[in-house]
């Protein structure tokens, strides 16, 4: 059997009094389209930040494409692509310049650069907006450009942190089909975080449901659904699965749940200010 694309072992990340990631152990195979599904503040983004070498874990270990996240960061960076949840573009550059910057940083030669820029612009239907400053883009346009950028350099592992957040239904479908196509025809391993059930259901080979920084279940969407199938629920959706594993807690411990999410939100807000 081929070595897995990602292995994490008891990954922990604490922020002051908050445990954002709590002993997460995962194994994601090469070529898999893997979903991290959870409510806001569940710790999905923190896991992505650890695996993309932006922050270090408090404890535990992980490898990405066979490289250790603490020792071989540059090697990991050469093999991954990331689409962040928050904006990460330069508002003073045009769409084309943002893409060109990215391509140059990844060492693509001029011909490849020009070709890829046109290709990905076309894919996200921004060709006619390519020479406008990013500051003048709408939120959705900016999002599409960032997705385009993440795909430009043909990464082995692609992290998509809430890729379709805030997009309209047409664009979302469009992005979905492209994600699937990349995964199938180019064998890109994809790790996707989302809180849209239908997105995870439609796209993912396997889904980990995560809450309070812990993995609650992890399996094929079909298997997860059969776990909650009952007489009242003969045909459960992934949403039913999700509510089954996380929902009761939300109702019963609304205080705690809310508090946890609020703490995470507050943490990021303070960082951003």
């Amino acid at each position: 059997m081929e070595a897995p694309a990602i292995v994490t072992h008891d990954l922990v990340r604490r922020f002051d009094d908050l445990t954002a990631v709590d002993h997460v152990s995962l194994k994601i195979q090469k070529g898999e389209l893997f979903g991290l599904l959870g409510p806001n503040g569940a710790g999905k983004t923190t896991i992505v930040k650890i695996l993309t070498t932006l922050i270090k874990p408090t404890a535990g270990s992980a490898t990405v494409w066979g490289y250790d996240i603490l020792k071989d960061q540059d090697m990991i960076r050469a093999h991954i692509g990331v689409v962040f949840q928050d904006p990460s573009v330069d508002n003073k550059l045009t769409g084309r310049e943002n893409l060109d910057f990215h391509a140059r940083m990844y060492g693509l030669d001029r011909a490849t650069r020009e070709r890829r820029v046109e290709e990905v612009l076309k894919l996200v239907e921004l060709s006619d907006k390519a020479d406008i400053l990013l500051g003048k883009y709408s939120g959705g346009m900016q999002r599409r450009l960032e997705i385009a950028r993440g795909l430009m350099h043909h990464p082995n592992v692609l992290f998509l942190d809430e890729p379709t957040l805030g997009l309209d239904a047409q664009t979302r479908r469009h992005i979905w089909s492209y994600i699937k196509e990349m995964n199938e025809s180019e064998h890109v391993t994809i790790i996707l975080t989302t809180h849209y059930m239908e997105e995870a259901d439609f796209l993912c080979d396997r889904v980990a449901i995560i809450d309070h920084g812990r993995i609650i279940v992890c399996d094929h969407p079909g298997v997860l659904k059969s776990m909650v199938r009952s007489e009242e629920l003969p045909d459960p959706s992934l949403e039913d699965v999700f509510l089954h594993f996380t929902g009761r807690e939300i109702r019963d411990e609304e205080g705690n749940e809310g508090q946890h999410a609020r703490k995470i939100m507050r943490h990021w807000r303070m960082k951003r200010r």
Partner: protein
């Protein structure tokens, strides 16, 4: 993985140039303070004379204000890493397979270019308002002017490298721009006043004078005086050597801190 990645350094430089051209108000804003310092102080103190030197105050002041321009512009560029953090663009830079030292060098390349352009504009403005550029021999000979300006350019690169690295070091230790005024008022202004940009450091009380010799800008201003008006307290080569040492130390310091910074 290449530690020094010329294409990435060039890319980061290119981005800085595009931003520079698109933010004219920032450029003009950055030039305002040194220009008014130069204009008003050289008028207000035109009859001032110092016991240690016979040169007129405008000649004395101009290299100091050029040093000031470099100091403020460079530190600001360094600290503006925090703006990239704020707007999320730093994440994009930090997940690319470009070594941290190359990212730092790219920022230095871009920041040094803008700082030196600003410094040259100030030099030009100084000449317009009466600064007598006399060259490295102080005799206004063509040879002295040309070699003076070339050597001054090298000094400017070293000054910019030192203080951009200092700015990046602060940016790596800070979470956001909140601490900026603290750094500005308690680090940058003292560095400026200690450097001898406005008055000879001999006038400082001996208890703080030794601090002036720990300030890289002291050697920068002294070296610039040597290059532009042919008068310096220390040999230009001592100034040059001190700045090479300071830029290497700050570069090492900055890249160490930058390497260990987390981006979230």
């Amino acid at each position: 993985m290449n530690l020094i990645n010329p294409q990435a350094i060039y890319t980061l430089w290119l981005r800085e140039m595009l931003r520079f051209l698109r933010m004219k108000s920032r450029v003009i804003g950055a030039l305002g303070m040194p220009f008014f310092f130069l204009a008003f102080l050289s008028v207000g103190f035109r009859n001032t004379s110092f016991s240690t030197t016979s040169i007129d105050y405008t000649s004395f002041l101009t290299p100091g204000i050029i040093g000031m321009t470099l100091l403020f512009s460079s530190t600001f560029t360094g600290i503006s890493v925090l703006w990239d953090k704020e707007f999320g663009f730093l994440k994009e830079i930090m997940v690319t397979p470009v070594s941290r030292i190359s990212i730092l060098l790219g920022r230095i390349a871009g920041g040094a270019t803008t700082a030196i352009m600003e410094a040259l504009i100030i030099l030009f403005a100084a000449v317009v308002i009466g600064f007598n550029l006399r060259g490295i021999y102080g005799d206004s000979s063509v040879k002295g002017m040309v070699s003076g300006v070339i050597l001054a350019f090298i000094l400017m690169v070293l000054i910019a490298t030192t203080f951009i690295s200092l700015g990046v070091s602060f940016a790596s230790l800070m979470e956001d721009m909140e601490g900026y005024s603290l750094v500005m008022n308690f680090v940058i202004f003292p560095l400026f006043f200690l450097s001898g940009a406005l008055f000879p450091i001999d006038n400082l009380p001996s208890s703080v004078r030794f601090l002036a010799f720990l300030d890289p800008l002291t050697y920068g201003v002294d070296g610039l005086r040597g290059c532009l008006i042919g008068e310096s307290e220390l040999s230009i080569f001592i100034d040059l050597l001190a700045l090479i040492v300071s830029s290497l130390i700050m570069l090492a310091f900055g890249s160490y801190l930058f390497k260990h910074t987390e981006v979230d």
